[in-house]
């Protein structure tokens, strides 16, 4: 028994000399780095492959006319995804976006009916979004509600109710020319609505990567307690997040109203879920703290391309829903794998230090 115990370390040291364990950890380190990079680029790669496959199988897809259609059909969900991204990075969720689209379009239509100018109508549509967002943020933060899910679930219901009440439950025709232009016109084949997406995406990009507010946002999403202790105005950051998300929904309402030349209390049903799906498919972390503008845009485009491709292939609508469901699960699983790889990475990192 004792002899066996003595001989054991000897065997170990011999095997150590044949395979250098240090080299092994370094190789594993690079493999893990590569895996994490692949996961980070995953959503974009999937989108590119998807576009390649669809372009190869359907001749119509890469006509500029159809690309314009894809972008135009994706613009509302892209804008909503930009707002939802900020909310999700802050560890929250905004379920009221669809209802906000409805109310803002109704407010715009009613004002236009009363003869107000295009400028006033546009400002009112956006201001409606800001107002709903402020209510979400204020009730969440100052009302000390445990999770924004509850608050925005309440506004999801109440805001649509207000839209139905204000419009008597009917569609109201008529939008100013400028609003129609933004919602449905194209420059060549490029839809103006997607220019709005690009403009807003640039703003969110600057906000999240260049300004102090962006750092605060990621700090609040990463560790709210530590953010508070570091003197970051957490409440103010969170309220701003919901105001911006509401503003994004207001822009969504503007585009939908322009596209249809009307306001309706039935617009935007389940749009918030599309936006959440886009952000998750794009690769942002649902748990908060991680995600960027690219995630929102790529996710929204992925959903848009899938819908467009299945349409071009004359696949029935219910398949679209199933496919998008599957993609969401894949995206969330990728996040789980990422978490696992990051854990392994930490261990290898500690071993490398020695």
């Amino acid at each position: 028994m004792e002899q066996f115990a003595v001989s054991e370390p000897e065997k170990d040291s011999r095997s150590l000399s044949t395979v250098d364990p240090r080299k092994l950890t370094i190789d594993r380190y690079h493999a893990l780095r590569l895996g994490l990079l692949a996961l980070r680029m995953g959503p974009l790669l999937i989108l590119l492959i998807l576009i390649g496959v669809v372009a190869a199988t359907t001749p119509v897809f890469h006509t500029t006319q159809n690309l314009g259609n894809v972008l135009s059909q994706t613009s509302v969900i892209s804008i909503l995804a930009l707002g939802q991204l900020l909310v999700i990075v802050s560890r929250g969720i905004d379920l009221s976006m669809g209802s906000t689209i409805a109310l803002s379009s109704v407010v715009g239509a009613l004002l236009y009916q009363d003869g107000y100018s295009a400028g006033i109508v546009i400002v009112a549509i956006l201001a409606t979004g800001v107002a709903v967002g402020f209510v979400n943020g204020a009730v969440y933060v100052w009302g000390r509600v445990p999770h924004p899910f509850i608050v925005t679930l309440a506004t999801l219901s109440a805001v649509r109710g207000i839209a139905l009440w204000a419009s008597d439950g009917t569609l109201i025709f008529g939008m100013p020319g400028a609003v129609q232009k933004v919602g449905s016109d194209r420059i060549g084949w490029f839809p103006i609505s997607y220019l709005v997406v690009i403009g807003l995406a640039m703003l969110v990009l600057v906000l999240t990567t260049k300004l102090v507010w962006g750092r605060w946002l990621y700090a609040v999403g990463g560790n709210p307690d530590a953010a508070r202790r570091a003197g970051i105005p957490v409440s103010r950051v969170l309220i701003t997040v919901y105001v911006l998300s509401g503003l994004a929904a207001g822009f969504g309402g503007l585009l939908v109203a322009g596209l249809t030349n009307a306001g309706s209390p039935n617009y935007g049903e389940l749009a918030e879920l599309d936006a959440i799906a886009a952000v998750i498919i794009g690769g942002a972390a649902f748990a908060g703290g991680r995600g960027h503008v690219g995630n929102a845009l790529v996710g929204a485009l992925t959903i848009g391309v899938i819908r467009n491709a299945l349409n071009l292939h004359n696949v029935e609508a219910f398949y679209q829903l199933i496919v998008i469901g599957v993609v969401i699960v894949v995206a969330v699983e990728a996040d789980v794998v990422r978490g696992y790889l990051e854990n392994r990475f930490r261990v290898v990192q500690a071993a490398r230090q020695s």
Partner: protein, 257 residues
């Protein structure tokens, strides 16, 4: 003559008659504490002895019911973490308060970002990233802390590296005092060693350090002086060494009385 020499060295941080009650429980009962420039003071005691309460009062997380805190001989008021920070006291709690999703640079400057222009509201100022990166790199180099990358997220770093980020962040902004709560509790042997070396380098650079720890070996190794608390009272103050090891342990558990 010697009395004159002693009185001329004013304590960097001096606590007198610190008392704190939580309902019927007296967590601190008239504790005195002096911390001098460039020394490592170990704060020892069993669970519930009042160590954490005392350091929380020094770092602004709690308020003393009675008693005073002075720095360099002047009485100060510490009512919030911001007050403490403004006085040059930085605290590293056991949870490290790191942002795992951010880089070491962003962790260093969270809540005190370098940004401009000055006329803009603080939240809308443009980050001065290069300056923050250079300053962070400079501090890490001075403390001889090696990190895999300054731009990578802290969440991908090992426990020791994370501790090093938290301690260097405190060191970078503390002009007077760094308080460390159980700095080696979550670390392996090798990583603990690195943190202890870091504490020593900090002290050699002139920072005063309070270390709360259960690990007696580490305390013996790094502390210049040890204060022992038991049930909210100071029960002893001695210089840690192989000879006093026994005495310290019995003071902590209360066997000496």
């Amino acid at each position: 003559m010697s009395a004159v020499a002693i009185s001329s060295t004013v304590a960097t941080l001096s606590v007198r008659g610190a008392t704190k009650r939580f309902g019927a429980v007296t967590a601190l009962d008239g504790v005195d504490l002096d911390l001098y420039e460039g020394e490592v003071l170990a704060l020892l005691g069993d669970n519930g002895a009042g160590k954490t309460t005392l350091i929380k009062c020094c770092s602004g997380a709690l308020r003393l019911d009675s008693g005073t805190i002075s720095m360099d001989g002047d009485e100060v008021v510490i009512h919030s973490p911001r007050d403490a920070r403004a006085l040059g006291i930085e605290t590293v709690y056991q949870d490290l308060a790191l942002f795992d999703n951010l880089s070491p640079i962003d962790n260093f400057y969270a809540g005190r970002e370098l940004a401009g222009p000055a006329w803009a509201p603080r939240s809308l100022r443009v980050l001065r990233r290069r300056r923050m990166k250079a300053a962070t790199a400079e501090v890490l180099e001075r403390l001889q802390v090696v990190l895999p990358e300054l731009d990578g997220s802290v969440g991908l770093m090992s426990g020791g590296q994370r501790q090093a980020v938290a301690v260097s962040r405190a060191a970078a902004f503390a002009s007077k005092v760094v308080v460390l709560d159980e700095p080696t509790a979550a670390l392996g042997v090798r990583e603990s060693r690195k943190v202890l070396e870091l504490i020593r380098r900090l002290r050699d650079a002139g920072t005063s350090i309070i270390v709360v720890s259960h690990a007696m070996d580490h305390v013996m190794e790094v502390a210049d002086r040890a204060v022992v608390l038991r049930r909210g009272r100071k029960v002893g103050e001695l210089i840690p060494s192989a000879e006093t090891h026994h005495e310290i342990v019995s003071l902590i558990v209360g066997g000496a009385e």
